[in-house]
Symmetry: C2
Subunit: 353 residues, 2 copies
DNA sequence: CTGAAAGCGCTTACAG
DNA sequence: CTGAAAGCGCTTACAG
């Protein structure tokens, strides 16, 4: 029994109006719940709407009203649980407020980002939430984002973010990395590495700054060899683990750029016979779901991506209500979650100066 | 320096036409790359489009053409990595084909599902991909989905799915559970539980059927006490672990409804002093990212959610090209990924009959 | 309280 | 090769 697909003509307010013997204007008023319509008329129209299974065409209404109730979310990568949670949180708030979510992902490519944004914008979103790809060009983004209220999330745009044209929701990278580092110092570590990330990414810079803050406050100074870059993936991190121990003095613990790197480091340590949490202290960043089930469970800095998504959506909604006003920056707090991976005792290692 | 928001009037084809001294029709033809336009005219128009930073209003065009280039994706829960990966895969294929993705989530609530679908449909998507909430009503879905080509993913709708009105993409639950069970049998297990899920969900039924198939083929019969229900979450599973050992004969291994349940079981086993992989064999279902980093690494049935998302999107695109034809069902293959959690030796346990 | 009319930004026959 | 006109489905002053 073949299904009937979208072949039949659409039911419009004209059909309803004709069936009820009223004008299209009246039907429209009923749809928008206007008090101008007499009760008896309203009921008749509503009954007919239901009978014909009428579906409101919001696109047509939005065109006429020059409004939009879509918000576009453009992310780097949905398969990253951090962004998936973020999207889930944003969706919950937006749906609650009656908005629909357009979703796109850039795969961390500035070119795809331009294409995706251009495509989104043709659909006339009321606002855009953008977690920018690394190496995004401020100029090219300005071009395509002109006219659409935008909230940038997670990292500042290319050239530093001074003179930002957009609202900005940042993680407290600097403070988060600082408390992570302080935690390792409190455990007795003195030789602490910063592992992973690329130093040209703003979040990596900020986290490194927090790391240095903590060291400086404790009167420690970082050996340059303790700053090890690598792509923020588990695999890369595992294969770069050896770089931490290439020279003396080797570190006894590491603050990692994020959890993916930290999980890779856990694997890398195991592969070279070191026990994370016993021989070597590890702290991650993000608190992704895998962190708590890793071996050993990963101490990390929680950024609560779902909360961030909700917060981003709320900031956007405020902007849409209030209009106007200069761009605002908001910094979301970070919190340390202590688990087994950081309970190493530095004395067992040779890393002490 | 306050940003200029979407306050200025929009640039339309009328503006471009006026600036070039041509008609709006000509501008439209240029936009759609029609060969009807003379080269010289085309260049002039294109230059003006760029100069004024013109943005195509796809909503208006779609209204006029009675077309749509949006596809709606309605999922249970984005923070479930299975669905996040699925969405990522679908997005990649849809974006490639020039479609934009509307995303909504239902949180497994049939009421929210109705509301979300209704809201989506008002935006006139070309098609819908729906991973239905449990206990969805076939009738209510029919009502709201009338007229929109729909692909149902992951589970059949409420009353069994006979006389399905929609395309359907299923995981091979039955075969997947069967190979999982056969694997445990091959390792020497004879007392094998099926742990987790609710028996009124179709995927749970199918997986249990595959489990029974394997037992029957090996001449084994399941003790009814080995069928333990629980919500498909890690926490629930951990706290229900004791139910497996409440009566003799206790099982020596378990096929789990999914990875979340299996991870909870790993934790539950550890909490009651049993070593998964040594004292007790565990197999999951899904191969979520956490599976490979669990302790011990989780043997599981891979369903490749990203691939499924891409497949779902392709099926939808085919339907949109081809139109017509009866609804089709597709079953995606499942594959066993062997890791440490299933290497238990049943002889160490008391569970043998 | 209700209707006639104009218009949102675009496309598409139809003439010329 | 280009333009005038009608129309997609809706909303909103404006009369009455």
């Amino acid at each position: 029994m073949p299904t009937t697909l979208a072949t039949e003509r659409r039911v419009t307010i004209t059909d309803i109006a004709a069936a009820c013997g009223v004008s299209r204007a009246t039907v429209s008023l009923v749809l928008r719940d206007s008090p101008l319509v007499r009760d008896e008329t309203r009921s008749r129209v509503q009954a007919e709407l239901a009978r014909q299974n009428y579906v409101y065409h919001r696109g047509a209404a939005n065109l006429r009203r020059r409004a939009s109730n879509a918000v576009a979310l453009v992310l780097n990568d949905l398969s990253n649980p951090f962004f998936a949670e973020f999207a889930g949180g944003a969706d919950a708030v937006l749906a609650e407020a009656g908005y629909v979510m357009l979703l796109g992902s850039t795969g961390e490519s500035p070119e795809r980002q331009q294409a995706v944004l251009a495509s989104m914008i043709e659909h006339d979103p009321a606002a855009i939430i953008l977690s920018p790809a690394e190496h995004s060009s401020h100029e090219r983004l300005r071009q395509v984002l002109a006219r659409v209220p935008t909230l940038v999330f997670n990292r500042a745009i290319g050239d530093g973010g001074a003179g930002h044209d957009w609202d900005f929701l940042a993680l407290d990278n600097r403070h988060g990395a600082r408390i992570a580092t302080e935690h390792l110092i409190a455990l007795g570590h003195r030789a602490i590495a910063f592992f992973g990330g690329h130093r040209d990414s703003s979040s990596c810079c900020e986290r490194r700054a927090g790391y240095r803050d903590a060291l400086a406050a404790a009167g420690l100074v970082a050996d340059p060899h303790w700053l090890v870059e690598c792509a923020p993936t588990r695999l890369e991190a595992a294969s770069r683990t050896h770089a931490l121990f290439a020279r003396d003095p080797a570190p006894t613990a590491a603050v990692c750029y994020n959890d993916a790197v930290a999980l890779g480091l856990l694997a890398g340590l195991a592969a070279c016979g070191r026990r994370a949490g016993a021989d070597f202290g590890v702290v991650g960043f993000d608190d992704i779901p895998e962190a708590s089930v890793a071996t050993p469970p990963l101490t990390t800095v929680a950024t609560n991506p779902r909360e961030r998504g909700m917060q981003a959506a709320r900031l956007v909604l405020e902007r849409l209500q209030g209009k106007g006003g200069p761009p605002r920056s908001t910094v979301a707090p970070a919190r340390l979650v202590v688990r087994a991976s950081s309970l190493g005792s530095p004395g067992q290692s040779q890393g002490k100066p």
